[in-house]
């Protein structure tokens, strides 16, 4: 049982790490602010989400597991709203130039 949980953790956390790498590459290589923003939101959603789900089998207490999920939901929600704000700022500036 322990081994199965550890394997789940390794697989999910590695997948999350892969998305972080993809997000960084996108941030550096994409040509435009809006496309970079798109890459970044994948990091918020999938990268952090996979890592959180990978950590859930390792946490002993229910309160810790709940905290993990609450933190992930909070980061996801605020990340989504701030991404909209950034995109709005880019569009407004684009209209002026």
């Amino acid at each position: 049982m322990r081994l199965a949980l550890d394997i789940i953790t390794v697989v999910l956390v590695s997948a999350g790490g892969f998305f972080f790498m993809a997000g960084t590459i996108g941030l550096l290589r994409f040509p435009d602010t809006l496309t970079r923003l798109h890459a970044l939101t994948k990091v918020d959603n999938l990268g952090l989400g996979l890592i959180v789900f990978g950590l859930l089998p390792q946490v002993e207490s229910r309160l810790g597991a709940l905290k993990l999920i609450v933190i992930w939901l909070l980061v996801q929600m605020s990340g989504a709203i701030v991404s909209q704000l950034i995109a709005q700022a880019v569009r407004r500036s684009g209209r002026q130039t």
Binding site: L74, M77, S78, I81, V82, Q84, L85, Q88
Partner: protein, 313 residues
């Protein structure tokens, strides 16, 4: 070379790189973003050293409040009302030499640290049970060295008065010139409506948890300050005039409660800032609760800056 050591070396190198980069950044905006990154990286370093209380405060103050302060200052400098004097080369060289001197002295001190650090930590830990608290940092702050904490809170208030004194004579008692969004869109208003309740709960949780685990009044107060600033920036609430009575009441309620309980120590316990046995923890919780409020309001007003106009726009 173990894995942990290699990670620590990389982290230290990253810190030095970010610090250097902050200084050579071309625009003020980039420098402030880098300074914020530096603060947050330092918080991770504190976590790696297992100093979680310090990490919380570093992330809150070093990464959060200071960056907001700097960004407000950069905005004001972008459209200055009085001409900004140019700094000549001799002054820059003098500043550089002073920084080099401080760095050398600090490096020498770190180099010649004694092998066994002189510390009172074991003594504090042994007496932790007597204080009624579970968090040794909170015990040091409010039981063993309560006088220092009281004076710190007063100093924070004095800093705010110092910021207010930068106002012009006509604007004294008026509304601080916090740079706000001129046309806050619906998305920003939505964020400023949904985040404050969450922030208030998190702030109260941080203060409450500080009695038995890392946290405390300062960290909780910073979150409260941040959500209040968010609502003010999104123009959901007006920036209050600094001579508003409720504002000044909130500012002083924390240090006053602390001082009152300290003075009461003369009558109900042994001396100033002594707690009677048994009710130490409830007293400390009351002090911390009022302090959380006061610190939140003080920090938010520090970021808001000196008053600039007499009436709301």
């Amino acid at each position: 070379m173990t894995l942990v050591f290699a990670c620590e070396v990389v982290l230290a190198g990253l810190l030095v790189a970010i610090a250097t980069w902050t200084i050579v950044a071309r625009t003020a905006f980039a420098a402030i973003v880098l300074f914020m990154v530096y603060g947050l990286l330092l918080a991770i370093v504190w976590v790696a050293l297992s100093a979680v209380d310090v990490a919380l405060t570093e992330a809150a103050i070093g990464g959060g409040v200071t960056s907001m302060l700097l960004m407000g200052a950069a905005t004001r400098l972008r459209a200055p009302t009085t001409p900004v004097a140019d700094v000549g080369l001799p002054l820059r060289i003098a500043a550089g030499l002073l920084c080099a001197l401080v760095t050398t002295v600090l490096g020498a001190v770190v180099f010649f640290l004694p092998d066994v650090a002189p510390t009172l930590a074991p003594v504090a830990k042994d007496n932790l049970a007597a204080s009624g608290l579970g968090n040794p940092v909170a015990a040091v702050l409010f039981v063993f060295r309560a006088l220092d904490t009281l004076l710190e809170k007063v100093v924070l208030l004095l800093a705010l008065v110092g910021v207010w004194s930068l106002a012009s004579d006509e604007a004294w008692g008026g509304v601080p010139g916090l740079p706000v969004y001129a046309r806050p869109g619906r998305i920003l208003v939505f964020l400023a409506q949904i985040l404050p309740p969450i922030g208030i709960i998190v702030g109260i949780y941080m203060f409450w948890a500080g009695a038995s685990q890392p946290g405390g009044a300062f960290q909780g107060g910073t979150i409260l300050a941040a959500v209040w600033l968010l609502t003010m920036m999104a123009r959901l609430q007006d920036v209050p005039a600094i001579n508003a009575r409720w504002l000044r009441l909130l500012l002083v309620v924390g240090p006053t409660a602390f001082l009152a309980i300290g003075l009461a120590g003369f009558f109900i316990a042994d001396s100033f800032l002594a707690y009677p046995p048994g009710i130490a923890k409830p007293l400390i919780i009351v002090v911390e609760a009022t302090l959380t409020l006061s610190i939140g309001v003080t920090l938010a007003l520090l970021v808001a800056g000196p008053p600039e106009r007499l009436s709301q726009r």
